[in-house]
């Protein structure tokens, strides 16, 4: 019976419209996967050697101290990114499949997820180094690994559970925030209790049973909750809540553009996927901390300031803009059969991005704490974003023909179809150009000259607005039939 499921999955993967779309995308996917694997393996070696040679500490003990954060981060990433095991369950329900089989396949499928396997690329080289050093007996290292694997899979099941039961999100994240807060303010250090536990996995022979039992328990709970909800009116039902009609008449001052602006604001407010762009932009607000606090050594070069400035103010611009017009994919035929002025449609999106960039810039004023020069980087980054990047991003988006499922949040980051050669080429002026401009000014004259150059380039960008909008209109027109066709293909 599993044979049927697997062949269904196999077909749904290979026959999906997105995958058959091109060789480039496959290469890109492969590239990222290899990149992550190499990063993990590399950091495993570096961490081991660094702790041993530079800090003169026992690598195992140090890693054990930090493992709790590792698992918490893992859970957070999973919650944000991991796809839920929804094989098309509805049509299977009335077929002669045992319900337990359906559930165990759906859950079992997640076991092969990249999110589980990636850990291996850190822990296996690390364990090999431990054993090779000669101090660590193989058996203990193995037990330690089994414990970690059990916890990783525990996270896997916990994530499924949390995704299915909305209230658990608040409980789990509440616990994490409270413990993190207590640690930060120095009241209670959870690592004091968890480090010995992880160490114990290695030292004692029986402690490993605990994580294994936890994993089994989580699996059983997940299984039961999944199994119980396998009805059209419970787990498989689409949830709806009472909503209000909104008129947003105050936006009418934007004239013709307001028609679309009102819609776009509702789009962002009411759809999970679109809302995540707002969350991304908030995350990017904090991205600058890595640069300006000197937390990451590689980023200390002055040119990286502009890089940071672009991201701090432009998180929304990049995450939202790259999918115009895909946001409207589910009703694109409607839009195309109405008498729409592309210009008004585009300028609505453009205004949204400009407003969001301005808001981010104001919120980023906290960076004044690190000095005026730092905030200036954000400021010129914002000018460049509004003048140049807002147009470039819309232009690149015109080539992206990925239908977006607004109601689902998965795949929100780095949508794989978003990569094609044209969008890739267009991403260069977004980041590289301002950095080059700044470098010229900085090294030829002074930091302020660099800022002026970038700022002037940004202002000059406004002059090209009409040209770029015309170009995008043209793309929308010539690609119209292809786009409609592509949006009809459901993933």
């Amino acid at each position: 019976m599993f044979k049927h499921f697997i062949s269904l999955q196999w077909k749904s993967f290979w026959r999906s419209a997105s995958l058959s779309s091109g060789l480039w995308m496959k290469i890109f996917m492969g590239f990222w996967a290899v990149w992550f694997v190499l990063m993990m393996m590399g950091s495993s070696f570096i961490a081991y050697k660094y702790i041993e040679k530079e800090l003169f500490l026992n690598p195992l003990e140090v890693v054990n101290k930090f493992l709790i954060y590792w698992f918490v981060l893992d859970l957070v990433f999973r919650y944000a990114l991991q796809k839920m095991p929804v094989i098309n369950i509805k049509p299977l329900l009335i077929l002669p499949f045992n319900k337990n089989k359906i559930v165990s396949f759906a859950i079992g499928k997640t076991a092969l997820s990249f999110f589980n396997i990636i850990h291996g690329f850190f822990f296996i080289p690390f364990s090999m180094l431990l054993v090779a050093s000669g101090d660590a007996p193989l058996l203990n290292v193995l037990l330690w690994n089994i414990g970690l694997i059990a916890l990783i899979y525990g996270n896997n099941f916990l994530n499924i559970l949390v995704n299915n039961k909305g209230y658990l999100v608040y409980i789990v994240s509440g616990i994490i925030i409270i413990l993190g807060g207590l640690h930060y303010f120095g009241y209670f250090d959870i690592t004091q209790y968890t480090a010995p536990f992880f160490q114990g996995l290695y030292d004692s022979k029986f402690l490993v049973l605990l994580p294994v039992l936890i994993m089994i328990a989580l699996f059983v709970i997940t299984f039961r909750s999944f199994r119980k909800d396998l009805y059209l009116d419970s787990g498989l039902a689409s949830k709806s809540k009472n909503v209000k009609t909104e008129n947003l008449e105050w936006l009418d001052r934007f004239g013709k553009t307001a028609v679309f602006l009102k819609n776009d604001i509702k789009l962002i407010k009411r759809n999970k996927r679109a809302r995540s762009t707002v969350i991304v932009s908030i995350l990017f607000l904090f991205y600058g901390l890595l640069f300006f606090t000197g937390a990451v050594k590689v980023y200390d070069g002055p040119v990286w300031r502009i890089f940071a400035g672009i991201f701090v103010s432009g998180g929304f611009l990049m995450s939202f803009g790259q999918f115009v017009p895909s946001w409207d994919s589910s009703y694109y035929p409607l839009m195309m059969s109405q008498n729409i002025r592309y210009r008004e449609y585009l300028s609505s999106k453009w205004w949204l991005m400009v407003i969001a960039t301005l808001a981010s810039t104001i919120l980023a004023s906290g960076y004044l704490y690190y000095g005026l020069e730092v905030y200036l980087a954000v400021l010129v980054g914002a000018i460049y974003n509004m003048g140049v990047n807002s147009h470039v991003v819309l232009w690149a988006g015109a080539y992206v023909k990925t239908p977006i499922d607004l109601t689902s949040n998965k795949k929100a980051f780095g949508d794989k179809q978003a990569f094609n050669m044209k969008t890739l080429m267009l991403s260069l002026p977004k980041l590289a150009l301002p950095m080059v401009l700044y470098a010229i000014g900085h090294y030829a004259y002074s930091p302020y000259a660099g800022y002026v150059l970038v700022g002037v380039a940004g202002i000059a960008g406004f002059a090209f607005r009409n040209i770029v909008f015309n170009k995008i209109e043209q793309i929308y027109r010539t690609e119209k039939y292809k786009t409609i066709w592509a949006y009809k293909q459901k993933k």
Partner: protein
């Protein structure tokens, strides 16, 4: 008036639409019937310039649809759920369409009151997004949205499907009223021969993309259609 010249549509070698010439005069109520895959939706999509015919062209009111967009302000359609904006409430959706078609809120409200019967209290004031309405109610909203802004050409693909009997009867009345207006051309497709003979003055049967019958509706039409499909 709508005129179709030498339209063909070919997908990977198989022709799904092949119409040499077809004219639909202004004010007509035009019915399209045919089995699945006969090319009804393809024809309507081509009329709306949503797909590009392999050969030939279509004129709407003297304008070639793929060359200009002038026809859009006088033409409206409801083909499928991709004509709905799922995250809007029905009211918001109607006002949005209204704004696109140059109608203010009061105009739209006035139009909506005419359809209170048709809505049967299940569309307006529902505190639900369109995506959470049932298929039938979504269809009601989509059909009425296609009537906003006094369109001269109205295209409805399978409007009767998914509707309950009461609503079907009310929809027939609405279409008949529209058809009575000499300025309004209505194009309807359906699988229901009874409905279509009742509301359309002219019925075209498509089979594998070709026009096989072109009838002016009369007493015998229903029998003739039944005989045709009972082969």
């Amino acid at each position: 008036m709508i005129a179709i010249y030498n339209i063909t549509k070919t997908y990977a070698g198989s022709t799904v639409l092949n119409i040499e010439e077809l004219e639909i005069p202004k004010g007509d109520s035009f019915g399209l019937v045919g089995n699945n895959g006969a090319g009804k939706t393809t024809l309507f999509s081509a009329l709306l310039d949503l797909i590009k015919p392999t050969t030939g062209y279509i004129e709407n009111n003297g304008i070639v649809v793929s060359d200009s967009e002038e026809w859009k302000s006088s033409t409206s359609a409801f083909i499928d759920e991709s004509f709905l904006i799922g995250y809007l409430t029905a009211e918001e959706y109607f006002y949005f369409i209204g704004e696109l078609r140059g109608q203010n809120k009061a105009d739209v409200d006035a139009l909506l009151t005419e359809f209170e019967d048709f809505f049967h209290g299940e569309i307006l004031g529902q505190k639900k997004y369109l995506r959470d309405l049932s298929k039938g109610n979504q269809k009601k909203a989509g059909i009425v949205a296609a009537l906003i802004g006094n369109p001269e050409v109205i295209i409805l693909d399978e409007p009767f499907a998914n509707l309950d009997p009461t609503t079907q009867i009310r929809l027939k009345k609405i279409i008949k009223e529209l058809a009575a207006d000499p300025n309004v051309t209505v194009l309807v497709s359906s699988h229901d021969l009874m409905h279509i003979t009742e509301v359309c003055e002219r019925i075209v049967v498509l089979d594998k993309g070709e026009v096989v019958k072109d009838l002016i509706t009369s007493e015998e039409t229903l029998k003739e259609l039944e005989a045709h499909f009972n082969k």
